[in-house]
Symmetry: D2
Subunit: 139 residues, 4 copies
């Protein structure tokens, strides 16, 4: 399967509540930003995640990795660049980059699994949803 | 109805993530502590809030008030003292005090309403649950 | 002192992490939204809150009130309308309304005090900052 | 250097605010639990992290990894088992296991760097602090 090179960008301004007493953004906020950027990715691609849940499925995170390179500060307007790197059976792997202007602040990856809400057992991605995660701009 | 004078005490040690760049606990954590103390209150009184939800009801917060008197700091071992001050039809009013040793750090109040999960319409408290919220130690 | 009628509007899309198992936004997120909207208010009025902190002052919240009217849900694009209703000596009182389209979801108020970072003692608002909080569009 | 096999255990009861609309604990809470368990580790070993900060140093997280195996639920009383696996120059590597009774819910790892508060440049761990992170029960 040919994967899209395209990223979707989500922007946020750092909230005061996201800082800690180090004077920088607390590291546990990055997975929350990744998730918000992932939601934006879905919206941009026409994937209705809310509907996936209403259809009895969930997409929990199985694995999370973050590398923190530079701190983010209150009021910084950061960008999270998100791209799907793999979708296979019930698994979805996504990469993220957090940037402030041209500086990379952090990078990360999540592995998610589509599961049944009732049983938490894996469910294969419906082909039409897999296609939306993967489609290129030409597509 | 005669209300209990008794409070239930819940203890927590301030987490680093709960601080902000002022170097103190961010004020939005207090309602979370109130809620955790309320959960402890229910457990101590034999009220199974999880079961209330499984029975198709929810207990959302309608009103919240907090007065912040003194800041809390990383690693402080704070106490939240919780007592029910009113339960009537579908409404539950609870008061909280956050203390560090003998110092009062904050006080607050919540008003909650028992509602149907399906409709978000008010539901009267079942008398046996109301009695558990109100029971005194002698009771 | 004549107060501005004007509000500043801050928009956010509800993050998945902001929901709880009731399926709606957890109530402790509203004070975080109020704060983000307050930051936007400051930016729009030319008040540099970061600079206030670097100048050795802080603006902690002394009182918080929230009334929750309707729940907010994942992906809702909510607005927080913010207006200053009082600034006097070291005290700043602000009101908030959370709206989804034309529906009011919640309303709230904060009372803050300008204090010295070193001592947590009250400091009078410098007149030029007070003026920025209060200025009207005509001003 | 010989490393301790010993783990320190920190316990918490899942807060309602930690759940999300999947009905389980949101994955971004695990790094917060890791951190709280790390704080407990320090306390148990006689390492005063607050003092390290007051001495002009910080210990930010450079890398975070989490593997989620089973979901945690509201009111679960979970344990986080924490052990240092490496301390070298300015780097500290710690592993975590989240357990509910005998079931492993998640595992993770953090890499932290001791840095100067003023410059964010790396600082070697003072030998007496390194020794406390590493000491065995026999030691």
């Amino acid at each position: 399967m040919e994967l899209s090179e395209e990223t979707v960008v989500w922007r946020t301004r750092v909230r005061y509540a996201e800082t800690d007493q180090m004077g920088v953004v607390h590291h546990a906020n990055y997975p929350i930003w990744f998730e918000a950027s992932r939601s934006e990715f879905c919206r941009k691609r026409g994937i209705d995640y809310g509907q996936i849940e209403r259809d009895g499925m969930l997409l929990p995170v199985l694995e999370l990795r973050v590398r923190y390179l530079q701190p983010a500060h209150y009021e910084d307007e950061v960008e999270v660049h998100t791209r799907v790197i793999e979708i296979r059976r019930s698994l979805l792997r996504i990469q993220y980059e957090v940037r402030l202007n041209e500086t990379k602040l952090a990078e990360g990856e999540t592995l998610q699994m589509l599961v049944s809400k009732a049983t938490f057992k894996p469910v294969r991605f419906p082909p039409e949803i897999a296609a939306l995660f993967l489609k290129t701009s030409e597509g």
